[in-house]
Symmetry: C2
């Protein structure tokens, strides 16, 4: 069976040819690093991914965590994977050297995470959430809180969660009901129930640090009354050692379709005296702090979705190359040899579509991560701001596009295998089930559409959107110099103008009449995503074109094939997937309200 | 929780308003029947579906059949469901009175099956396959074979299977390796392995009758060397009573993503002396006979897919009506009451899309079943032939459209529920897993595309396609008389012309160069399907329009709502889904070969 985690040639392409990761070593923060160190890091992560994550991908699905009323039981491989990652230091890879970290660029950390996700997404989630929670504490908590919680979260003694959702509120954070009661010693007592809390309980670490959104008693209604608290499962003594159990109870596990080796929990805070919690930063600013975590988590979801799509693609590709079946239509002889199914046009379509989705999604997410990097370490304030604004704009697309098309990609992977794709004897059906979580968590598809059209486009007088348009036009300008890329240039050029027109029309509508103006925000999100991805593919095609045109002598046959594949995938995306924007723009321009005007009683 | 199986008001609409089912009683075969009898039949099936099928939908998934090396163990509810259906007489509902049947029209039987599928598709499959196998024996076997096997298959003592697929051949039946050795007594000894045989072993019936495709020793290569055999699990004595076990062994169960309460088996025929088998009809004509079964099974798959989509739609609709969350965009006050999520535009989009897919798929499948009826019982030979040819043309669409869009529909049902849609505490994720089988079995999507463009379109000088065009034009003609339906008329009119042009171009290409001409057959299948479905929705819209325009006095408010819903779903389908044919036709007209020209080495 196929044992690749990701395609390392392509990861190399994305990091060093599509992106300029090697140039990062010119920045002060990365001065001690080199491409060799980056690659050595990824190679060791790949080994860990194979040895400690891929090894129990299927087993963790068939033997999901269970709760006996006292403890959560898990297969032992999960704990071994947790320890292996902790030992590797990847939990703190991005932190500064003087914090005990490896001071690696985000894009290397994200690539490392992609290997772990591709090998076993649900097991990898334990440390992703811990890193994310730890980052919030590092950014916003006070020194005492940091000194108590950050070191054990960086070395894997403590795990972390984000506890936002409640049973009756879902996507609408304004309506959370969990209350924090001030206590004499300056801490708080938290009471309330949280639901769908990923990794809310498990047996991997000595302690679990919940970041809990709650409203301090008598706080203002809505999102401006939400505060953020550290609520450990086990309280700490002043010296940081473990004390008594906090008043946090696991009410039960939820049983997911996929992602089964991660626990999904219902947690009761404060069933007895109230769970001891420590306010992070200022009262009522909780959502603001949490958004840092959510934005990073959204890019993380996109990257994880890209990784699952990539695994499915590689599996179905390997299968299609080995599985003989049938003959080409023109061959009517029953005595001729069967061809491998990769020879069938429709199988090629399914593989090429997956390639365009999986490699495209990975390119998009690593690009977004490079913006996260630039936001923090680019040389000038202007570059940093530009990157921050562009990333802010693109985040809904980075979260939702890989999730949506990742599902379609894993669907095609099943279809390539046919009946074998549908049975648990092969990994494709599990990838499909795992992937289906991604369009739901960290803000469902519909929320991302509203975020893009309702908030991100209009922000700062469309500054983000203007930057995006400029970036695409710069790429188009470069492509326009190359006659061979005209077939890619024209459709994107036209689609960009369409997007510009539609955006102008819709933003005016949203201002005047938000309900109907935002009614088709999900269609807008998809249209926007198609333009973004066409651009991402054009950028890859440009690199491939230039690599191919260095002359035969410079690159060998397999390298030529690699770049030809990139060009063909770009052609596919731009000729097969981008044109849907034509009809989408017509729907959006007229603001078609067929769905909006549908009445409850008519269903 | 929602406990509807299907929407009986809509089923009524489809049977008696969209189709003319009541007029069937004017045909001699149905002279003794009435609408009341039809409805009473469906009501009793609905009760059985609720009591004996819906009751273990989740349990059968969580406790799938297991094999201990000797017997297949199943939850007892499966056997109770099997018996309940046998007792009801639905297994033989279509058969003539003098065969012991109920002599009911196909469309009533198909509706009955839809109720069972919607309640529990995998349990329902046991009797669907039995009926299908029994029909082949009735049509093509000799009298002795019929007298031995038909009665016990009609009353549920014997079950049936279709054993086509082998481990190394999949969709390419020409390459099956199972051999039938002639035996002195006129029977055959079958040797070979079959895989993915649904319900190939179980403990519901006294015997299992396998219809096995095999090649008689020294038969011609390819599909013209395939014969069809009856191979019972337990051999029969001359009087029809059970004799010794045949040489048919269950090698193992396959473990599916969904449809788990149906067994999927690997069967070894003839590991010892050879499995005793009885030739059906003439040697080497097996595939011809099997095609009757496959064509019926394909319509059955479509109907089952429609039923699963329908269940998901009804569940998510009920949830959306009850679940409060968030506020409309224009309402910025955190103190206002939360709205039920059906108020959110994007949720309405997801519900309306499901309505268009689920109700549309059901309408398509019942329409196809009415053609099956007309093929057999229409008054004139001309009508019968016309129906046969049209059904033949449409079968790939009837199989694949509900399967493909059923998956998308169940995907949306999950999305409406968000996190709750993803957990096994709700039925949506199971419906999604169950549905995913449908684009695979009975001829995968790609096979249906090749069948449509490569065989069905060109057959009899495009006679089928011409009839289809005529039918759509007749409906358009009727719609053109109604000004209010102009918004539906124009897009279909244009799409039909596009389809005509594309079809002419492609059929010429296929003739000249089959490999590249058929390369985009799956895109053609989807384009064709969209036109078919737009027509199906226009026909529903016409009925709804006329019902609404009888005047207020005639229909009450809930009836008005029902018809308004039909009109709105038609608008949705025609304005949101049909326009994709514009870009599809451009791809097809230029015969875009980006996928076809992709090279193995470029992946």
């Amino acid at each position: 069976m196929m044992d690749k985690i990701l395609d390392s040639r392509d990861m190399n392409f994305l990091l060093y040819e599509f992106l300029d990761t090697e140039l990062l070593i010119n920045r002060l923060r990365y001065a001690g690093h080199s491409r060799e160190i980056f690659n050595a890091t990824l190679e060791s992560v790949e080994l860990v991914a194979k040895k400690y994550f891929a090894n129990h991908y299927s087993k963790g699905d068939a033997n999901e965590p269970s709760f006996d009323g006292m403890n959560v039981k898990q297969i032992p491989e999960t704990k071994m994977a947790w320890d292996a990652v902790s030992d590797l230091g990847i939990m703190s890879a991005h932190q500064d050297f003087d914090e005990g970290g490896m001071q690696l660029p985000y894009v290397i950390c994200a690539s490392a995470n992609a290997y772990l996700s591709a090998a076993n997404a649900s097991t990898a989630g334990y440390h992703f959430l811990t890193i994310a929670a730890c980052n919030v504490i590092r950014s916003f908590a006070n020194d005492e809180q940091k000194s108590l919680f950050v070191p054990p979260m960086m070395d894997g003694r403590f795990a972390g969660t984000m506890a936002l959702t409640e049973p009756n509120q879902g996507s609408a954070l304004a309506d959370i009901k969990t209350v924090a009661y001030p206590h004499d010693d300056g801490s708080f007592r938290i009471k309330g129930q949280k639901m769908f809390i990923t990794n809310g309980d498990h047996s991997l670490s000595d302690n679990i640090v919940h970041l809990v959104l709650a409203k301090i008693k008598d706080a203002p209604a809505g999102v401006n009354g939400i505060s953020l608290f550290i609520v450990p499962k086990i309280k700490l003594k002043a010296d940081g050692s473990l004390g008594e159990a906090n008043d946090v109870a696991l009410a039960g596990l939820l049983h997911k379709m996929g992602y089964r080796n991660a626990t999904s929990t219902v947690l009761n805070f404060g069933e007895k005296e109230g769970a001891e919690g420590y306010l992070i930063g200022k009262p009522h600013r909780g959502l603001h702090y949490m958004f840092q975590m959510m934005n990073e988590a959204r890019i993380g979801v996109g990257t994880g979705a890209a990784a699952l799509a990539y695994q499915g693609y590689l599996h179905s590709l390997a299968y299609a190359r080995e599985r003989p079946q049938g003959r080409l239509p023109a061959d009517k002889s029953p005595n001729s040899k069967q061809v491998n199914i990769i020879e069938h046009a429709d199988v090629r379509r399914m593989l090429l579509t997956q390639k365009a989705y999986a490699e495209g999604a990975m390119a998009l997410c690593l690009y977004a991560t490079s913006l996260m990097e630039d936001e923090r370490t680019a040389d000038t304030e202007c570059e940093r701001q530009r990157a921050a604004v562009l990333l802010d704009l693109l985040t809904p697309v980075v979260k939702s596009w890989p999730s949506k098309y990742g599902c379609l990609s894993n669907d095609l992977a099943i279809q390539v295998l046919g009946g074998s794709g549908y049975i648990r004897e092969y990994p494709l059906e599990q990838l499909y089930r795992d992937q289906r979580l991604n369009p739901i968590h960290e803000g469902a598809e519909g929320i991302q559409g509203l975020d893009l059209l309702g908030r991100k486009i209009p922000m700062q007088n469309q500054y983000g959107f203007d930057i995006f348009m400029q970036e695409v036009r710069i790429t188009l300008q470069r492509a326009s110099l190359i006659d061979e890329l005209a077939e890619l240039f024209d459709p994107i050029h036209e689609a960009l103008e369409r997007l510009d027109t539609v955006t102008a029309i819709l933003t005016r509508k949203v201002e005047k009449e938000p309900n109907s103006g935002l009614a088709n925000a999900t269609v807008y999100l998809d249209m926007f995503g198609r333009v973004v991805m066409a651009w991402i593919w054009l950028r890859q095609a440009l690199v491939a074109y230039h690599a191919l045109n260095k002359g035969e002598a410079v690159i060998d046959a397999s390298e030529r094939d690699f770049y030809q594949g990139k060009l063909q995938a770009a052609r596919f995306y731009i000729q097969w997937e981008l044109p849907a924007t034509v009809q989408q723009s017509l729907l959006l321009e007229e603001n078609n309200l067929v769905c909006f005007e549908m009445q409850d009683g008519w269903f």
